[in-house]
């Protein structure tokens, strides 16, 4: 039975992926050669770039930590464990972020839960089959880091033994259980707390964001932890235990071949998982059966509000966004990052002078503007806004609205969501970091132009690669060709924007940052006009061809 369920889960996953990357027409069963080439290129690009990044980083780290002068400076004790601990930490964090969005959907909100629970299958088997899928997602990210970091350490000057390699492989194989315990726990807490709540989506959104705040706080403080590690090398045991004891043990077990640490780490990785699985299996049936219960809201007749058709569409798309915390987080991670960045700057305001010193007179306003442009490129609202119409597409096609108005409403939705937060973030920086009025205005113009451009770009990509056979909007935002292209494309454009603003300033005497920012803003607005023309050209025909 379990085998059949597992086969179904994996078939579903691979079918979903295959569907996502197929052509935009429903009858297009096979991928075109161009699409295969593009996917292969992106896949290789990801593996090579990120893989090389990890390998080089850990090779460098391994070389530094095995340098005799460096070792002597820290009392002559072997330091390889630091690199291994950092590898463990990175694998843990990446696998957590990579799988957290799918866990809730897979475990508690899967559409076939009712069907499967009506069959003579033990709930534990259903839970287990779903967990295998979540584990494979955790493992994919975690093993990616482990493999390339391991290669980097192997080719570094570090002394690596066979026992070290075996310990490295075993502990890294078990590491995803630890991150999975965290994602499962988060999904369980959200499901338990929101089970009988009226505003289920908002509560689950707040809980998820809260969890992320804690997570990012930990990430932002990673440097502090590493500094503390280095500062306290002599009295390591007691000073580290308060910070990252499991990860410390992970590093020590592998680098120092410490058997006790090896088993302690195994305990740390597996015991929380076993406890979480025990809790989940005991409550799974109950939560699944009651989590879809809708709290009865009595209708009270109120005066109705009227609005124009375009704004009615905007309000509708905004309601859809805020109706699902997972869809919201997947499409608006940039906004979340912007808010976190503002908070981080306010919290670390005492360190700004040091940063200004490092910048040697280069305006902080430009840096912060470009940073917000980069973060803004992570917003994927318009990149899936057509696809999420899914089974409701018939409605958009049957209403007496021009396709141009429907497209305009969708673009407006993207702007309503992304533009205010970006601009307010920059204004907040301007106040806190005391930017000049001119720098602020230039920054606001550039940021507005870039935000507008990313929205148009995402929409154009989605219009070309729209698919409507998703089971829910989270999948449209996660597993779609359009989001994939828009994400990498926008990130590439944001780096290009930064290069065009900054590089001429250093290369040519005539180039001022005011000039380059104005130039880039004008170019971006020109591109927006071009994209707008392309989107609106034959809009009615494009609308009819959708679906």
């Amino acid at each position: 039975m379990l085998k059949t369920l597992l086969k179904c889960r994996f078939a579903e996953m691979f079918f979903g992926l295959k569907k996502s990357f197929r052509g935009s027409k429903n009858n297009e069963d096979k991928m075109s050669k161009g699409r295969i080439a593009l996917l292969a290129f992106l896949g290789i690009y990801l593996v090579v770039v990120f893989g090389a990044l990890f390998a080089l980083m850990f090779m460098e780290m391994g070389d530094t930590l095995s340098n005799p002068d460096f070792v002597d400076a820290f009392g002559g004790k072997p330091l390889l464990w630091i690199a291994v601990s950092i590898e463990g930490l990175m694998a843990l964090m990446l696998s957590f972020v990579g799988s957290v969005f799918m866990t809730q959907t897979q475990i508690y909100n899967a559409q076939d839960n009712d069907f499967l629970l009506s069959l003579p299958i033990k709930p534990a088997y259903i839970l287990l089959s779903r967990m295998v899928l979540v584990f494979s997602m955790n493992g994919m990210f975690s093993y990616f880091v482990a493999i390339f970091a391991g290669v980097g350490l192997l080719i570094s000057d570090c002394e690596i033994t066979l026992v070290g390699v075996i310990f490295y492989v075993v502990l890294n194989l078990l590491l995803p259980f630890f991150s999975m315990a965290a994602t499962l726990l988060l999904a369980w807490v959200i499901s338990v707390l929101t089970r009988k709540m009226k505003r289920k989506n908002i509560i689950s959104l707040i809980l998820t964001i809260g969890f992320f705040l804690v997570y990012f706080y930990a990430c932002f403080n990673l440097n502090n932890y590493i500094e503390k590690l280095l500062e306290n090398l002599t009295g390591i045991g007691e000073s580290i235990s308060g910070y990252m004891y499991p990860i410390y043990k992970f590093g020590v077990a592998i680098a120092n071949h410490d058997i006790a640490s090896f088993f302690i780490t195994i305990g740390f990785f597996t015991i929380p998982f076993v406890i979480v699985v025990y809790i989940l299996s005991k409550t799974y049936f109950f939560i699944v059966k009651t989590s879809n219960n809708i709290v009865k809201v009595k209708y009270v007749k109120k005066e109705m509000k009227t609005t124009s058709p375009v704004w009615a569409l905007v309000k509708k798309d905004l309601s859809r966004l805020f109706a699902s915390s997972m869809y919201l987080l997947n499409t608006m991670s940039g906004i979340l990052m912007e808010i976190l960045l503002v908070l981080a700057v306010v919290m670390k305001i005492d360190q700004i002078d040091q940063i200004k010193e490092i910048l040697q007179g280069f305006p902080l306003a430009v840096i912060m503007t470009l940073l917000l442009v980069l973060i803004g490129s992570m917003n994927m609202v318009t990149a899936s806004i057509i696809s999420v119409e899914g089974k409701n597409l018939w409605l958009m096609k049957s209403v007496p609205l021009k396709a141009k108005d429907i497209f305009q409403a969708k673009l407006l939705t993207g702007l309503v969501i992304t533009m205010p937060v970006s601009l307010i973030s920059l204004i907040a920086f301007a106040f806190v970091l005391e930017f000049s009025v001119v720098d602020t205005i230039l920054g606001l113009i550039l940021l507005s132009a870039a935000t507008l451009f990313f929205n148009y770009f995402g929409f154009k990509v989605n219009l070309t690669h729209a698919r409507f056979d998703y089971e829910n909007e989270v999948l449209a935002a996660k597993q779609s060709m359009s989001c994939f292209i828009a994400m990498f494309g926008s990130m590439g454009f944001s780096l290009l924007i930064a290069a065009v603003v900054v590089v001429p300033y250093f290369l040519f005497d005539w180039a001022t940052l005011t000039l380059t920012q104005c130039l880039v803003s004008v170019i971006l607005i020109g591109f927006c006009y071009l994209l707008r023309t392309l989107i609106y050209k034959d809009a009615d025909e494009k609308m009819k061809a959708l679906g």
Binding site: N27, I294, K296, V297, K298, Y299, V300, K301, E303, M304, K305, T306, T307, S308, P309, W311, A312, L313, K315, K316, S319, R320, A323, S324, K391, N392, W394, L395, K397, S398, V399, P400, L401, K402, D540, K544, A545
Partner: protein
């Protein structure tokens, strides 16, 4: 009210609708009968401006849907067989949204919603999200949304599926009332008894081709409607085998 002239719609090499002609007058309830995959939904979707078509034309109130789709869509309401509505909205939110799209005045939408929601006994559930609605409840909301903007022609794909007996009865009454006021209704159904009792005219479609059309008496003659339907269906099978 609705004139379909030589409508042909193909999916690849397969003709879903083949040279179909139909004429529906104001005040008529017109039933569209056919087996699964006969071409009923394709025809309805083409008339609603959802599907493009290869040949022919469709006129709503004398206006070609190809030439002025916006004007045509303002005059019609279409409800598919499975009313996939916006699940994230509440019932009242959805109705208000549709009223905004069709620019129905505040007073008129309040009056219409109150009237039809009370009639279909769904008023108390209007604040609930649509995802909590049963198929029948969604169908009721879809029907209210169809009546809210005073269309001249309503096109319904299997409207009675999922409705409880009382709601079915009320829908039939409302359909008749709507047509008595000068509107027209074009609906598909599998239930021949409903077609026989409710419709002024019927059309039978098989394999994308119109097999018979006219008043009930003209179509069935001395036979029962089921006999006529089965005969036409058998003729289609023979044609396919030949």
């Amino acid at each position: 009210m609705l004139r379909i002239e030589n409508l042909t719609k193909s999916y690849g090499s397969k003709k879903a609708v083949d040279d179909l002609n139909l004429h529906i007058l104001p005040g008529e309830i017109y039933g569209f009968i056919g087996h699964n995959g006969a071409g009923k939904t394709t025809t309805l979707k083409a008339a609603a401006g959802i599907h493009d078509f290869n040949e022919g034309d469709i006129y709503i109130n004398g206006v070609s849907i190809k030439k002025d789709p916006m004007l045509c869509k303002k005059n019609i309401a279409y409800i598919p067989d499975n009313p996939d509505l916006y699940d994230f909205m509440t019932g009242i939110g959805y109705l208000n949204f549709i009223a905004d799209i069709y620019q129905v005045s505040k007073e008129e939408r309040e009056e219409k919603i109150a009237k039809y929601a009370d009639m279909f006994e769904i008023t108390k559930d209007l604040a609930q999200p649509l995802k909590s609605y049963s198929h029948g409840m969604k169908q009721k909301i879809a029907l209210i949304s169809a009546f809210i903007h005073n269309p001249k022609l309503i096109m319904l794909d299997e409207p009675f599926v999922g409705l409880d007996p009382k709601a079915s009865f009320l829908l039939k009454e409302t359909m008749r009332e709507f047509c008595n006021d000068g509107g027209a209704i074009f609906f598909s159904t599998h239930v021949l008894e409903v077609a026989e009792k409710l419709c002024d005219k019927i059309a039978i479609i098989s394999g994308g081709k119109l097999k018979a059309a006219g008043t009930i008496d003209e179509v069935k003659g001395d036979e029962s409607l089921i006999e006529v339907f089965l005969e036409l269906d058998k003729a289609k099978e023979d044609e396919a085998n030949a």
